[in-house]
């Protein structure tokens, strides 16, 4: 008998994939997508079914591992946050050209409002770029139902499908009705065309022609999709296209009783017939999208169109997450006046935990930099990005995963002395290693500080592929042994750690300092677990 479970959108999707016969989940942690893989890892059922559920070292690896599983005729999902799709874009874009064999779902969680990200890019652009179907569930129940539908679509039309989440669905729990037994996994079956996955130009051209020829079919699938719904309404002064969870805010604003025609849009490419009907029948069209104005821009055209309302017209805020109030205002519905913020409020930003090893590293490093004069520290993605804030004010740049090393090298090439990179253990194996090889190749006078807290801290303490391997990796890449230094970031080692930093920064060649002490949070959890 089906049962009701309280699940995050991410978790509902993971359970849906299990119940749809997935063989492998591949992912790198990234907010707000992390809980998909964590659900697999915590699921007894996934263990019993032998589903792959180990983290990958980065999103590119995850996507490629998923493509490999699809090649074998079995179902796979690759999961990442929106900026992770940038890291995996090579594999992602070309998976559209190989096409899928077993069902292949590229799952991306966008973070509008940048709660935990450096931009609010909208993955639907990537879906359109790759010319593949995109599905963005509106509810946790749909998140559960999407995998079964999308795997079928992927296999029938031999295409990867993008599944798009946004923060508020990923990280909101709701009651979800789930099935009682999973579909069996696919048997191994390699592609009927044995050369299909070989993207030599001659083959790729044929594949690409076939992919382009499917576009009309993809559009027709959107017209018939169970996740899209056209509801007519008497008041045709306005028609509303509500995408993904934008539909929920619309229904909330109207308490479920909207008197305008409404197109709930969760599957792309855009269903042209339904949109054309609305355009023909309604005086104005409001497009409600969580993220960037993808559909609005298409309807509006390059020169603007007064008929089309949304984030570009100013009817809705141009940036940030949606909410029901923004929709109330855009639809001219009554909205209560809100009190002005209290004078008694102060910002309370997140900060490094008390006892965090990164704090001790930053104290020793910044003091050394001040002593040496013209030094700059290039940061990376992790808890330690908070080193940019007071009291440390330590880092001078933070751009993307792995960029600390290459930024430091570029600045050093341009004449900076002393150039320092700080990078976490997991970020280092994600995409810092290749940059380090560049620095070794040219023996660049930079110091790379690897903050080894033995875990992926920022996303909640996942296992790091770097665990126990950093010295070997660094040495193997060609950093001389005498310039691989290991320190323990503790207050009582402050002076000796400063001395190590000073020696290595003064060395006019590549050096690596590994600052190793376990994350205080994972240590606390382990200690608590050991007591039980």
């Amino acid at each position: 008998m089906p049962t009701t479970k309280l699940l995050l959108g991410d978790e509902a999707y993971a359970q849906g994939a299990i119940d749809a016969g997935v063989t492998g989940c591949y992912a790198y942690p990234g907010t707000p997508s992390t809980e998909i893989m964590e659900y697999f890892q915590g699921s007894k059922q996934a263990a019993e079914l032998g589903i792959h559920r180990q983290w990958s070292c980065n999103e590119k690896a995850a996507v490629e591992e998923a493509i490999g599983t699809s090649f074998m005729g079995r179902r796979a999902i690759a999961c990442m946050k929106h900026v992770g799709l940038n890291a995996s874009a090579d594999g992602f874009m070309n998976s559209a050209i190989t096409g899928a064999n077993g069902g292949l779902l590229i799952t991306v969680a966008d973070d509008p409002s940048m709660h935990s990200s450096q931009n609010e890019q909208d993955s639907r652009f990537y879906g359109k770029f790759a010319m593949i179907p995109v599905i963005e569930p509106s509810t946790q129940q749909e998140a559960y139902e999407v995998p079964a539908y999308a795997f079928e679509l992927s296999e029938k039309y031999e295409t990867p499908v993008m599944i798009r989440f946004t923060t508020r669905l990923s990280h909101s729990r709701a009651d979800v009705v789930v099935a009682d037994a999973p579909r069996p996994q696919n048997a191994i079956k390699t592609p009927s065309n044995p050369k299909k996955f070989v993207l030599l130009p001659a083959i790729a051209k044929k594949n690409y022609d076939a992919h382009v020829a499917k576009q009309g079919t993809f559009c027709q699938l959107s017209e018939e999709s169970p996740f899209n719904k056209y509801t007519d309404g008497a008041d045709k002064s306005l028609g509303i296209i509500a995408c993904g969870i934008g539909y929920n805010y619309l229904m909330e604003a109207y308490d479920g009783k909207c008197n305008h025609p409404v197109l709930k849009l969760s599957q792309y490419p855009m269903p042209r017939k339904q949109v054309a009907k609305m355009l023909a029948e309604c005086e104005k069209i409001l497009v409600i999208e969580e993220g960037m104005p993808v559909i609005e821009e298409m309807l509006r055209g390059p020169f603007g169109n007064e008929k089309i309302l949304g984030r570009l017209s100013g009817a809705l805020p141009r940036v940030g997450e949606l909410n029901a109030r923004a929709v109330q205002l855009a639809c001219n519905l009554p909205a209560p006046e809100l009190p002005a913020p209290s004078d008694n409020l102060r910002a309370r930003p997140p900060r490094l935990c008390d006892g965090c090893p990164h704090a001790d590293t930053y104290r020793a490093l910044t003091e050394t930099c001040q002593k040496l004069g013209d030094a700059k520290i290039f940061g990376d993605i992790g808890c330690y990005t908070l080193g940019a804030l007071p009291p440390f004010n330590a880092i001078t740049a933070c751009v993307d995963m792995g960029a600390s090393i290459t930024l430091a090298k570029g600045a050093s090439d341009a004449g900076l002395s002393y150039a320092v990179a700080v990078i976490g253990d997991s970020t280092f194996t994600h995409s810092g290693m290749t940059g380090l090889l560049d620095a070794v190749w040219e023996n660049a006078p930079i110091t790379v500080v690897i903050l080894d807290n033995l875990t992926v801290g920022m996303t909640g303490g996942q296992d790091s592929a770097a665990l126990g391997r950093i010295e070997d990796i660094v040495h193997g890449m060609g950093v001389p042994s005498e310039h691989i230094r290991i320190i323990t970031p503790l207050p009582n080692k402050h002076d000796e750690n400063m001395a190590v930093f000073e020696e290595e920064m003064k060395h006019r060649g590549i050096s690596v300092v590994i600052a190793r002490r376990e994350c205080i949070q994972t240590l606390r959890r382990k200690t608590a677990a050991a007591k039980k």
């Binding site: 909101s172 909410n323 209290s342 309370r348 990005t385």
Partner: protein
């Protein structure tokens, strides 16, 4: 029934425990629930909040509409005021009165508490004292859960059962203290 609750506090204070217990109650009672929270950059020591929506009818949005919340419940007075704009005209703000001062420019406490008392419907609690009285000083969030119970139209016995289940793995003493904290919060005025 329908109850929209904004939960607020400082990272690590335990607002999500309140949400988790009420979420379990909702599923057991076949009530619809949506509970949204922000994870991510660990947020330890920073402002955190969650939206919890309970209703016997299907719920559309994961977030509570500004100006429509029935309750703002906070572990800390300034964090309570941060979410005041969420309250409806008839909504109630419930908060612990003890400030958590981990910033240099925390506002003057008497002014802050006066502002809370001046709201149309507010309840300032000494959850620290009540938690101590329950036998476990960590029960401040459960005291608040007790205060919430007066507003959500669910049988308190059902919530007590969920609390017992939530803490069952930690032993009977922990369960007993939590139930006591819940009752103290329910009776607090």
């Amino acid at each position: 029934m329908k109850c929209d609750i904004v939960l607020a506090g400082v990272g690590g204070q335990g607002i999500l425990t309140i949400a988790a217990i009420l979420g379990k109650v909702a599923v057991a009672e076949k009530i619809h629930v949506k509970q949204s929270e922000i994870h991510g950059m660990s947020q330890r020591g920073g402002s955190v909040f969650a939206h919890l929506r309970l209703s016997d009818k299907p719920i559309f949005a994961d977030q509570i509409t500004a100006g429509a919340a029935d309750l703002v419940v906070a572990m800390e007075p300034m964090e309570a005021m941060r979410h005041r704009a969420n309250l409806s005209a008839t909504g109630t703000l419930i908060t612990d009165q003890t400030p958590l001062v981990n910033i240099n420019d925390y506002p003057e406490l008497p002014k802050l508490l006066d502002e809370i008392r001046a709201l149309p419907h507010s309840l300032l609690l000494d959850t620290t004292a009540l938690a101590k009285e329950s036998g476990n000083p960590r029960n401040t969030n459960i005291v608040l859960l007790g205060a919430i119970a007066n507003f959500i139209g669910l049988d308190p016995a059902i919530i007590e059962k969920a609390i017992a289940a939530h803490f069952a793995s930690k032993g009977q003493a922990v369960v007993d203290a939590a139930i006591k904290a819940f009752q103290l919060g329910k009776d607090a005025r």
